[in-house]
């Protein structure tokens, strides 16, 4: 301790005090405080929920985030634009490729380049494949959270086929790092299109299986119907996005309504909504979206245009000064990057709008007067990924 300055010591004490403040457990007269997390089997990582209970009934629940903050927004400021994709891959680690796309699109917007059509097509295909890889796991995981152990193994088994296809193109299963400013790193390998069709068939049968095994199960319905109901206006006011919003009956999908740079306008597809807004609706919408993603990819595979996969961009990328915000409909919801450039090799500031962070913000509102088991099923149905919350 002799080498530490007084300021460092003070900073250390202050950080400890902040920690202690969070750790204080308030015992109320008519209940107890239950600390779910940061180490808890149901929180998919290090989310912490402080629930004040009255018996098994939740009086208030407060989520505490930040146990896995990795400082990506700050780290991007010391990396060149092509290097940033390596980092942001790790935000939503189940659908990694989808994280890269909005950032690359924002950078392209600032540089005023556009990827060639073939690159746009392949981007959209990979984007939807990563949606399947992500949501597929949700379908199994939701069943685990309400107590059925088997479906998650089916999810992992069939997700493998999609991951294999992503790996064959990009070389990475979890962190592809494949998107480049102005196009893509490589073209599709030989025979990939046919194999992807096979993987999609597999995925469709997986969706049917989930519909029978989980969605149709009476106990699952008893556990999810009318549980965690979010009305459409509340969902909008809390900034929910993605399937959570559409499950509340709000017909909003960035892919259709505010599409930038991807080729969804070339495909015949449908935005699924559900009027109920409960946990069941959120599961149902995600199931339908997985099917719809198969449908989108199927159509895109048949119509990939020929041509280059890379636009003309300088070897050393300097992005002209300016600001851009691009959002895409990621597996978890709206993901946007607000990029500020001062004309350097590195971004001046990057603000990441991640879907899970906003989706989590509704938990104090929704986790009232529910039972302890419902905390788990509602959180599972909101579907967050810790990396996406904490960044």
């Amino acid at each position: 301790m002799s080498t530490t300055t007084e300021n460092e010591q003070l900073a250390y004490i202050a950080s400890q005090a902040a920690d202690a403040r969070v750790n204080v457990e308030v015992e109320t007269d008519e209940g107890m405080t239950l600390n779910l997390g940061p180490q808890h089997p149901a929180t998919h990582g290090t989310l912490r929920i402080i629930a004040k209970l009255d018996g098994e009934k939740v009086v208030t629940a407060e989520p505490i985030m930040g146990y896995m903050h990795r400082g990506y927004e700050k780290l991007t400021e010391v990396r060149t634009y092509p290097q940033v994709t390596t980092l942001i891959n790790r935000i939503d680690w189940l659908g990694s490729f989808a994280n890269e796309v909005p950032f690359i699109l924002a950078a392209e917007q600032l540089m005023e380049v556009e990827a060639p059509p073939r690159a746009q097509w392949i981007r959209t295909i990979l984007f939807e494949l990563s949606r399947i890889a992500n949501v597929c796991l949700f379908l199994g995981d939701m069943a685990v959270q309400v107590g059925a152990t088997t479906p998650v193994f089916y999810a992992f088994r069939d997700r493998e086929f999609v991951l294999n296809q992503i790996e064959r193109v990009t070389g990475g299963r979890f962190h592809p790092n494949f998107d480049r400013i102005g196009g893509l790193k490589d073209d599709l390998p030989k025979g990939w299109i046919e194999e992807t069709r096979g993987a999609l068939e597999r995925m469709k049968s997986f969706c049917d299986e989930m519909e029978e095994l989980v969605l149709g199960n009476e106990i699952f319905q008893a556990r999810t119907r009318n549980i965690g109901v979010i009305p459409g206006d509340v969902a909008l006011s809390y900034g929910l996005s993605g399937a959570n919003l559409r499950a509340s009956g709000v017909d909003w999908d960035i892919r259709r309504d505010a599409n930038v740079g991807l080729v969804y306008d070339q495909v015949d597809w449908k935005v699924w909504t559900h009027p109920d807004g409960d946990s069941f609706a959120r599961f149902w919408v995600r199931l339908q979206e997985t099917r719809e993603a198969c449908n989108i990819i199927d159509q895109l595979l048949g119509s990939i245009p020929s041509g280059p996969i890379m636009a003309k961009v300088p070897r050393i990328i300097k992005v002209p000064a300016g600001e851009a915000y691009v959002a895409t409909e990621n597996p978890l919801g709206e993901m946007g990057y607000y990029v500020v450039s001062k004309g350097d090799l590195t971004p001046f500031r990057v603000k990441i709008r991640s879907a899970s962070f906003s989706n989590m913000s509704i938990t104090p509102w929704i986790l009232k007067d529910v039972f302890v088991p419902d905390i788990i099923s509602i959180l599972a149905s909101l579907y967050f990924i810790l990396g996406d919350i904490d960044r």
């Binding site: 107890m32 069943a143 107590g147 059925a148 106990i219 556990r223």
Partner: protein
């Protein structure tokens, strides 16, 4: 009380040295078989994986490896735990299992004690495990354990009732509470005047069997009734603070009682050690009886684990509603119908 405990010893029951190992075997062998065959293997195949493959041929020695691991682990007591209660809880749970196995007949003479009120004793001692679980939940000084323990107590008490009421139908039909008598009643019974296969009560008491199996599933706290140990909610409920040998005892208790309850179901509804075609009084049943009973037990245990790995979990209030509003009225109706038919036919 003396009539209740009136013993009817046969040749092998008279030596303590034979009785104790056979008792241990009767509890541990089904438990081990269930763990390896169902928990490790059958479930793995259902979940499209292989399960343990490394220890022994097809992973058959995995169980020994697990037991060795648990024995080696430190036996941790939480600092705020009520030490004596915490230490005693697994033994209370295990005790109820051992008491249950005492009354199950495995052959005309192959039984530990022949009680006139055998099934009555079984139903009574099966509730003892609630005390052990409540002890574990309370003494751990852990909120998850406490919630799990309280849930277990509420659940086990609620499902004790349909369990007993389902058995009452069988008792009415057999006309005896003696387990041996129930087996013989099925062996010598007739269905509508036809006695070709005797009268396994599964055919005449199928509602009772249905209720009995649901209640057993709840008594064993297996999914869809596994809220006391709900892994995704309560970490592992009342087991959260247990480690090492004490966790192993709970684990043995869980699977041994699965085996014992399956055996009781086999006796009550599937004719126990009897197979059609051989005279029920024949001495050959002392040899093949245990095997027949074990086979029937394993088939019923498979049902338990099949359900466990298929269904999601109920919520606590839904579970209570199922017990009080559906199973108990149904079992009362079953008793009424059985009683009427018993008198009329």
């Amino acid at each position: 009380m003396i009539e209740l405990l009136a013993l009817n010893p046969s040749w092998w029951q008279e030596t303590f040295l034979i009785k104790v190992p056979i008792g241990l075997l009767a509890v541990l062998l089904p438990a081990g078989t269930i763990v390896y065959l169902y928990l490790f293997k059958a479930i793995s195949f259902m979940q499209s994986r292989l399960g343990p493959m490394e220890a022994g041929p097809y992973g058959s020695l995995q169980l020994l490896a697990e037991v060795g691991k648990w024995i080696q682990k430190e036996d941790i007591f939480p600092s705020k735990a009520d030490k004596f209660v915490f230490a005693a809880a697994p033994f209370v749970v295990l005790m109820s299992t051992f008491l249950l196995v005492v009354v199950i007949p495995a052959g005309p003479d192959a039984l530990f004690v022949d009680l006139d009120a055998g099934i009555y004793l079984a139903m009574a001692v099966s509730s003892v495990s609630v005390i052990g679980i409540l002890m574990a939940g309370w003494s751990s000084a852990n909120k998850y354990s406490l919630l799990g323990g309280i849930r277990a107590a509420g659940q086990l008490i609620a499902y004790e009732l349909p369990l007993i009421l389902a058995v009452v139908g069988v008792v009415i039909q057999a006309g005896t509470m003696n387990m041996q008598g129930i087996v013989l009643a099925q062996a010598e019974g007739e269905i509508l005047g036809w006695g070709g296969i005797g009268n396994p009560f599964i055919l005449t008491q199928f509602i009772g069997f249905f209720i009995f199996m649901i209640a057993v599933q709840a008594e064993l706290t297996q999914a869809p009734f596994d809220m006391p140990v709900a892994e995704s909610e309560l970490v592992t409920g009342y087991l959260t603070e247990y480690s090492g040998i004490r966790f192993l005892l709970f684990f043995i208790g869980e699977f041994a009682s699965a085996g014992v309850f399956s055996a009781i179901a086999a006796v009550l509804f599937f004719g126990g050690w009897y197979v059609p075609g051989i005279d029920a009084g024949s001495q050959v049943f002392n040899v093949i009886g245990p095997l027949v009973l074990a086979t029937k037990t394993m088939l019923i245990a498979f049902l338990i684990f099949w359900f466990r790995f298929t269904f999601p979990r109920f919520r606590e209030d839904q579970l209570q509603r199922l017990a009080w509003k559906f199973l108990i009225p149904l079992s009362l109706a079953n008793i009424a119908i059985t009683g009427v038919l018993k008198v009329a036919v």
